[in-house]
Amino acid sequence: MDFEVVIGLEVHAQLRTKTKIFCSCATSFGDEPNANTCPVCTGLPGALPVLNRRVVEYAVKAGLATNCQIVNDSVFARKNYFYPDLPKGYQISQFDRPICLGGYLDIKVAGQEQKRIGITRIHMEEDAGKLVHPEHLYGVSYVDYNRACVPLLEIVSEPDMRSSAEAVAYLRALRDILVYLEICDGNMEEGSFRCDANVSIRPFGQQEFGTRAELKNMNSFRNVQRAIEYEVERQRKVIAGGGQVVQETRLWDVEKAMTISMRGKEEAHDYRYFPDPDLLPVQIPAEWISDLGASLPELPQAKKTRFISTYELAEVDAEGLTSSRALADFFEEAVKRFANPKMVSNWVMSELLRYLNDEKTSIDACPVTPAGLAALLAMIEAGTISGKIAKKVFATMYRERQNDPAAIVAAQGLVQIDDTSALAEVVRQVLAANPAEVEKYYGGKQKVFGFLVGQVMRQTRGQANPGLVNELLQQQLDAGRP
């Protein structure tokens, strides 16, 4: 029997606020354990939460960017359960009145039509602390509350995805949006963008969902893809073998490349949600929502579409350039100064990204400025330097944080040789020095032409105007043809 895969995703995005959701402690990552704590985030008796306005702002932005309806009197609820890193014995979250409801995202998987994935809800909540188990002390646990009360958005999708590729496309699109909004750093490895997947399968045509498993602990897009694929295959085998899939939570084990049962349904909690009496309903005046809407940046998909239509770029290039807001901005800044989008795109996508990747530098810290790149490309177009020389100049610009390519060209004597008589002399020397190759050329081996051009370029250390070299070489070969 053939099965249809049904996937829904729950994403936890850590918000990039300076302070925690209910107190003024810092949210910075990697500080000394319990350095960023106070009576509120450690849940001391009598301490009370006070909502961080910025968190609401970020949640509204995320909702607007994903086409959600903003609920203007959403309610914080208490989710009651016992865990040592949960200081109050409950987590403050949102339950039946979350801040955003009913949105969607459009995704595109290569080779398929664009598809719309529903977003059920987005809600605000606090993170818990972290347990530390020292290796040398058996039976001892420490608790670090630095992360307690750090603001999170939980973004819940509809079970609209039908393949691991769709799930990853949705996750990427969602992450790109949150990063574009500058409300989340999107770092999956550090856990600031984490995802749980609900995966089930059902026979094609069946309306009811199959029994689902919840997958946790996937800290990269690749792991999400692999975990889902493994899980689908596992469920297929269970059913094929006459068994039944049980509802449970499963962990993705990266080492073993398999999902492992973590806990079954019978241990499911009764969280006893109820509205937190310490916090008032979140009132969001319509004006505030419209101001936040007006402040939204152009989002990745809109930007990509515009790049294709305005700059006539290929879809793959437009997608690459718009994958990061800073990269897109860099591109547009450069195009403003050098109006050949295709050429700028090629240079950004190849040279620039290669250097950045090699040095693990982000575009924000790129030593070459858009103006510097534009000036370099203008020199190629003017014929002052060849493309090959330009790459050398670019290397210097990058390494020495030098954004005046003309100065580098002048200092290193890299100006293109356009002097016909000087180049004609070099061509003559090359032909004289390679009689065997010339012979082959006349014998019909056209490829040798390229070799001879290369020799000329070498003699001139790459500075010869390539067009002129071609012309002169052709002339002299034709003239000498037996």
Partner: protein, 491 residues
């Protein structure tokens, strides 16, 4: 008259005129504690060193002519659920027996800023759950008027300490009557302000949507003074309200002829002690004599108030008390094996029976499948109760009723019957559900010599009308001048 027996108003004037020093007042109060607290049992902790240091500082401020407040140099006691930095805060529970807060509650901070002398921490029912202070894990507090009787609860220590002159005034908390009922039992003035009037930051929570910090004083004027120091918006408490804080004590005079007094029929319940009813009716007669309009009114949903309260309060309590798990502070069971056992044994050994009873009730009320039938329904009834009051206040300025159906009962009398105990708060609970301000003041004595209290209820943030009506009544009567005889020593 001994300094300890005087009112806040009297002592403040004497301090301003430099007739006495804060140190003299403080020593007088500390001596009084030494004389009677063995019998009364108000204090869980007396901070002699801290109080003397604060008195010295107050005298320095007074001598230097620095700005002073109504409480500068005045010895005040605190219910032991108000967080005090560096000073044990136990909530009268074994689970917090050795807990020392790292921060001051906002009200404590305000009192310190104002130069008050903090004498120590006062006994209470464990986590403010109870109506007799018999649920304290540490000691019994006795009613200064009859040591065989309870002082009321849960702020029993705060009430008995003021009645026994072991402090000039004190702070307590009122979740369902926990200030008004013990004030009534001990013959002092107890004020529960409007919900949101005083910051709850640092008040160890019992039921967050009902808890309110308030005052115990010897007179209405003293209540007005003390409230003006601790009230006001606090950015640490989202439920505190940005209302201006008037200097109430300068606004006490009022012509009662323009006053309309509502008498809720449902509050003169069957089974009410006749002495209580008579005393309250006489007090109502006073207002009529002064020319006030007396109007019979109805609060039709009063019958449901106690049930509603015990669903809302226990639900919130079950959640608020989850943090006492032995992980970070407080008591941890010494011989538990594993995490779950540590939680279970810590809570089994750390909490007393009443607290456990309420945690279980609340957990049940919130649990899946019962939420709609209990918690949600209770919230709906709560709205109806609130609306009852709104209707009455469209035609009345204040509502007058008894505080408790009976005067103080005997120690041990109701301990084994929780339902009987819960019913003692039947007349005070609706006020908390509606978030209103209310005041309890003495309006007579039973034949056996126990005080009887009069309750006045006002619109939200209309503490002013409470103070005015109560002050006029107090001026015309002598009940507040009576003093209990403890240990053979009266004043």
């Amino acid at each position: 008259m001994e300094l300890y027996a005087q009112t806040l108003t009297q002592l403040q004037q004497k301090l301003q005129r430099r007739e006495v020093s804060a140190m003299e007042i403080t020593e007088s109060v500390l001596r009084r504690i030494g004389e009677v607290d063995q019998q009364v049992g108000s204090y869980l902790l007396v901070d002699v060193i801290g109080a003397r240091a604060q008195a010295a500082e107050a005298d320095r401020r007074l001598a230097a002519g620095e700005a002073v407040s109504p409480v500068t140099g005045i010895p005040l006691g605190l219910k032991d659920l108000l967080s005090t930095k560096g000073m044990r805060t136990t909530c009268a529970s074994k689970i917090l027996e050795h807990y020392v807060p790292a921060y001051d509650a906002t009200v404590v901070h305000r009192l310190r800023q104002a130069g008050a002398v903090l004498t120590g921490k006062l006994n209470m029912d464990e986590f403010a759950m109870g109506s007799s202070t018999e649920n304290s894990a540490f000691q019994l507090t006795r009613n200064p008027w009859n040591l065989e009787c309870v002082p009321g609860g849960s702020s029993g220590g705060s009430a008995s300490a003021v009645a026994a002159d072991e402090c000039i005034a004190s702070l307590g908390s009122d979740t369902g009557g926990s200030i008004r009922q013990p004030a009534s039992f001990c013959g002092v003035v107890g004020l529960k302000p409007t919900y949101g009037r005083v910051s709850r930051y640092g008040l160890v929570a019992f039921a967050s949507s009902l808890d309110q910090i308030g005052t115990f004083t010897k007179t209405v004027a003293d209540a007005a003074l003390l409230l003006s120091v601790v009230a006001g918006y606090d950015h640490h408490d989202s439920t505190s309200v940005k209302e201006p804080v008037p200097t109430w004590h300068t606004l006490l005079d009022r012509d009662l002829r323009s006053l309309t007094v509502g008498i809720p029929q449902e509050y003169f319940v069957e089974g009410m002690d006749t002495e209580v009813e008579q005393a309250v009716r006489r007090a109502i007669g006073f207002f009529a004599d002064q020319g006030a309009t007396i109007r019979e009114v109805n609060l039709p949903h009063s019958d449901y108030a106690v049930a509603t309260y015990y669903l809302v309060a226990t639900a919130e309590a079950s959640s608020n008390l989850a943090r006492y798990d032995g992980v970070k502070y407080g008591y941890r069971s010494p011989d538990a094996d594993g995490l779950l056992e540590m939680y279970c044994q810590t809570r089994s050994e750390g909490f007393g029976p009443e607290v456990k009873r309420r945690i279980m009730l609340g957990t049940y009320a919130l649990s899946a499948g019962y939420y709609d039938a209990y918690y949600k329904k209770a919230q709906q009834v709560r709205t109806l109760i609130k609306q009852d009051f709104e209707t009455v206040f469209s035609s009345c300025d204040i509502i007058v009723s008894p505080v408790s159906p009976t005067p103080a009962f005997r120690i041990g009398e109701k301990v084994d019957d929780p339902l009987q105990m819960y019913l003692t708060d039947i007349l005070t609970i609706p006020v908390n559900l509606a978030g209103l301000p209310a005041l309890s003041l003495p309006c007579g004595f039973s034949k056996s010599g126990l005080p009887i209290g009069l309750q006045m209820i006002a619109r939200p943030f209309a503490e002013e009308s409470l103070f005015q009506a109560a002050h006029q009544y107090e001026q015309a009567t002598d009940w507040h001048r009576e003093k209990p005889v403890i240990n053979g020593s009266a004043n």
